[in-house]
Amino acid sequence: MTDRPEHLDLATFRARLGEGEGPEYWRTLDELAQDPSFEEMLRLEFPREAAALGEGVDRRDFLRLMSASLAMGGLAACTPQAEETIVPYVNAPERIIPGKPLFYASAMEMDGVGLGVLVESHMGRPTKIEGNPEHPGSLGATDHFAQASILSLYDPDRSQTVRARGEVATWSAFVSALQSNLQPLRARGGEGLRILTEPVSSPTFADQMAKLRQRFPAAVWHTWQPVTGDDRRDGARLAFGRPVHTYHRFAEADVILSLDADFMMRGAGAVRYAREFADRRRVRKDKTEMNRLYVAEPMPTTTGTMADHRLAIQSAAIEELTRGIAAALGLGGEASSGQHATWIGAVARDLRAHAGRSLVIVGDSQPAAVHALAHAMNSALGNVGRTVFYTEPLEANPVPQMSSLRALVADMKAGRVEILMVLGGNPAFSAPYDFGFAAAMNRVPFRVHLSNYYDETSARSHWHIPAAQYLEAWSDVRAYDGTVSIVQPLIQPLYGGRSIHEMAGALSEDVRSGHDIVRDYWRETSGAGSGFEAFWNRSLHDGIVAGTAFPPLALSAGTLPPREEPERWGGPEVVLRPDPMIHDGRFANNAWLQELPKPITKLTWDNTAHVSRATAAAMGLSNGDVVEITAGHWSAEIPIWIVPGHANDSFTVYYGYGAERTGTIARGIGSNLQPLRTMGSGDLLRNASVRKSAKKMRLATVQEHHALSYEMSEGAGARRDIIRSGTISQYVANPRFADEPGHELEGGPSLYPPWPYPGNAWAMVIDTNVCTGCGICTIACQSENSIPVVGKEQVLAGREMHWIRTDHYYKGSPDSDALEMFNMPVPCMHCENAPCEPVCPVQATTHSDEGLNDMTYNRCIGTRYCSNNCPYKVRRFNFLSFPDYETESYKLMRNPDVTVRSRGVMEKCTYCVQRINAGRIEAEKEGRPIRDGEVVPACAQACPTRAIVFGNKNDENSEVARLRSEPLNYGLLTELNTQPRTTYLGSLKNPNPELAPAGAPATAGHAES
């Protein structure tokens, strides 16, 4: 920077940005930022931004400006791959072939638990997340968070530079500032140094903290995040007197009792659990036994829809229920005589009958006592070691989080904290409202915040460090069973983010890169010695470190937890739950997740208070009415959504919305429920009052709720033969009930001869019996096919673009426990007699010789006739210019094998034709037919329960051909003679004969329900 022109212009600025690359690049940028002539340049190039600079930097404008300059620097246009050698999953990195993606194993950490993933990388740009088949927590599938994380990576709203008191600064400046502030503390053994992290299971980080403790014995490591899981820990303490991690093996469980646990979608191991559960549920010609699932929960969940017997019950009443079951199992306590006596009796008998092959699981939002009861029951049933396993805690710092945070706040208020390092999270916004965390924070002399966004907490910190996303930085993380995965980055930090390891390094004057920190740790501890290179490569390649799973602990819990008299309360209960899509709010700026319809309600872009029909009727509430929820002297407003099957006198509200500084998308949407999340409350508000306000809000659901009334009154799903369901006994009696005459795939007679498909004939079978309705297929498809989001207004207008949707149907009386729920993913049916094709006037949609219903985007002029004539309404139209062509970073994210569709063009599911073609090319190179399972569409690949199977129906050995020959196989609306290639397997329940109806007789043919 010696030869600085007195007047710096854009060109030279761009040139100077161009000079450096990698870390050096950032130095250049930092210097520039400090350079006075930089501001001069601003005034010339961006008068508006410069004005903003004038009156004290408006952070957002500055951010926008910075990102603009990044674009100019051409950084986004070509991001270098991580310098350190990382090992690709299949190919060696030097074999990078343009247009040919490479896959790398890594792991995504959430709530301290790792999910093994394979990251698809095009020319060094991560574009798609898949599950890692070798990872115990994934088995090849992912959750929706992993799918969406790719969008978070390229989020232009992410914090893009180190800031000191809001001004652009440098990492080096931060390190020196930190050290100088640490100086006085050294003498006192680091007293006054506080580190607040979210739960971390990284062995490396644990090791770093241990070393740090040696330097600063008096330093304290606090752990807290909005979704604490404290009750789970406390439950373990109650049962075993020590923190213990529990995991389950559903593969071994014949009878499962889920107490308010949405184990198929939430919490550690959800992906694995869903898979194991589903594997025990697939009914085939030769396999007619199913597991049985009892669910007791207030708000219907994905798990609830799978239940054979679902009890809609207040969250607060579940402890009573559980004690009843425990008593019936002979664990003491007086037997229940309540309204649920029969249910309790039947469940208990069923559990005992399957002792050792049963399983009781409890949701995080249940009080410690219920967890303890479950431990006791599992022990008594001899499930421990068979279906239930206890291990050391996954987290490196398994403290009770609420009290940990409370202690921190107390110390901050008392001025006992001199250095506060907040590593991740946004406690200034999300900490319990009455803690006054933000205020307390201001009393800390030196505050540092590592985070994705320059958020509420950053704004209150002296130093803000942009966090590196898991695809950008080295780390390691434990899976639900303790197995460690090395997190290997695929891309240089887009915005110079730092990892927690580097932050810990900065504390201990450790200048090593994140890569070296992790690698050195494993060199020390792996014990591989000279064979370390091999060990390291193997671990990176497989995505797991062999033999790191925790050994099960031989524990058993005999004693029942003491029962404290359940406090009486008036009015309905209010249950607080993290939003299923944006979780505790960390994904609030992720448009894919915001627009992904939430299970059951199919709502997008908002959080709501869910309530049963009866309670809503009693309170005169209808969908969209805004209610004011008051607990103590705190209150919040949120719109109502009526959910059939919800427990009465109970409101389930999703929190996570409301943060104002976590991105432009997150700002101003949803309802902020922070005021209700107070010290005492936990997840259950007993003394809340719910009052209807005058306000009404338009809520964007993708499944018209007018249809619901018809659906409920007529059971349309069944009446219209859309859903074919029955019980396992009905299936045994008549296996073909789902596919009775009049519904056969061949459809009726036709004047025209059938079109021959001699070669491959692609087909898809979707097993409604194991579909949980989680929507992961939808978001996987969105990522694979570069499907744009349209925003709340357009969803309201009925213009969402998802290529595969999951429909939700009911059967039975909406207010009884006999209410059954069904999920049906609907992609394009690729009908052999596609009604959409003959009506297209320009041959934009035609049939391929492998039976795909192809769209030729370039030829489409957008008459929308095809969509009108599609009985399944799976076609999507670009009513406006939906794709974001401007944002540079999104250009990196899109799948280069898929066209970005312009305005005025129809689009739809292609069976991931780009993957089929890739597979064909491989096969042809090797001169062989495409193998079964070689081509897997994004939806099928991501599905945790393997509900979607794709393949060549002409190959009678293919799985899809076998499934199409299953008696449960049926087609949708085949009476129209569309001859769909996508077919469904009927849905079965396995009711307990003791408990009367899991619904009515099998509904197929024209059976009424």
């Binding site: 030829r859 957008g862 309404k873 305005r903």
Partner: protein, 464 residues
Amino acid sequence: MSSNDLNPPHPQVASRLEQAPTITPGHTFGSITDKISTIVLTRRTPPGWFIGFGVAFLLLMMMLNAIGWLLIKGIGTWGNNVPVGWAFDIINFVWWIGIGHAGTLISAILLLLRQSWRTSINRFAEAMTLFAVACAGIFPALHVGRPWFAYWLFPYPNTMALWPQFRSPLMWDVFAVSTYATVSALFWYIGLVPDFATLRDRANSRIWKIAYGMLSLGWRGSAKHWYRYETAYLLLAGLATPLVLSVHTIVSFDFATSVIPGWHSTFFPPYFVAGAVYAGFAMVLTLAIPVRRAFGLEDFITARHLDNMAKIMLTTGLIVAYAYVMEVFFSWYSGNIFEMYMMFNRAFGPYWWAYWLLILCNIIVPQSLWLRKVRSSPVTLFIVAMFVNVGMWLERFVIIVVSLHRDFLPSSWGMYSPTRWDFMLFFGTIGLFLTLLFLFVRFLPMISIFEMRTLLPEAQVHED
């Protein structure tokens, strides 16, 4: 039965004819010629014309505005969505095309049926047809997502060997509508040629002489010409008759050949054609009644004409009513849950008002036409015609939107609500229609002069 039958008609009929002839007695060849041609040739333009034209022109500008915005932003500015992929765009298209049927019907079919009373209104009706088709044509072109590629709908040689998909009813529309427009235009122009000759010989300014002279192609009324001319005119009528029937039949195929409940129906063609004639005559009345008043043409467009048109409306209206009843019957008789729900949803779903309003406008109100009082009073007749205009628009709304918004899978049901751009474009086309109409009545003879001459008794050759 024409007023100039030679053998004396039945006395009762005769009395009816006295009170309502097709042309008021006392006119001569000359008087007819002058009365009609002066409307065009007179220098003075009535101030009312300027006002009306101004209003129409403003509406036309609004249409251009709406089209501009559409091209900039896209179809998303309308209310259309999935499942309701078609709404105002196709409703208006079908509505206008329907209106465009009366003209050719009057000039062709009534000609073949030797209904000489048609002569005084056919020119006018044909013009209306042309303008209505012009308005209709706008929508298929603009309703596509990428209008700048709308020309792909035409079969033209191209290096990519890409052709339209001729199995698509939309392609059938393209051919039907463009053929219809072409043939009606030629038909209309050929009918004008002898009158252009008249204007040529009447015009007293050189420019107009030349202008009309060119348009008249040098017509000189030679007996041989007249003979071939009449042959051609008759043949054209013979061709136009199946054509006009085919156009709305094909438009109805857009729906009938699809699978959507409420569309997929075999009796759409006759139902649509009847509806088209119904709408067409309603529009002819809507326009003829004020025009004959404004230009004092009561002598030529007499109560007899209004009465006849009213009767045709009543008849076609009854056919349409029958179709409505049949729709209900079929949906019940099919025993198909989708069909049954479709009908239920029309009558009692969220758009129930459209259905019942349609019944009111198209079935109940027109029954008043049974009364001669209503038929003989231009005012009441005008009101009834207006009801039918609205009713026929609603019919298309019900068929298109209400069928689409709830089809097979309840999960994909949706609601539709138009935006202001939908309305601007719709009323804009009405502006276009009126603008063209105002220009027509000002610059062309709105009644066929030479055919009016033939209505006079002295036009007959008396053998003796």
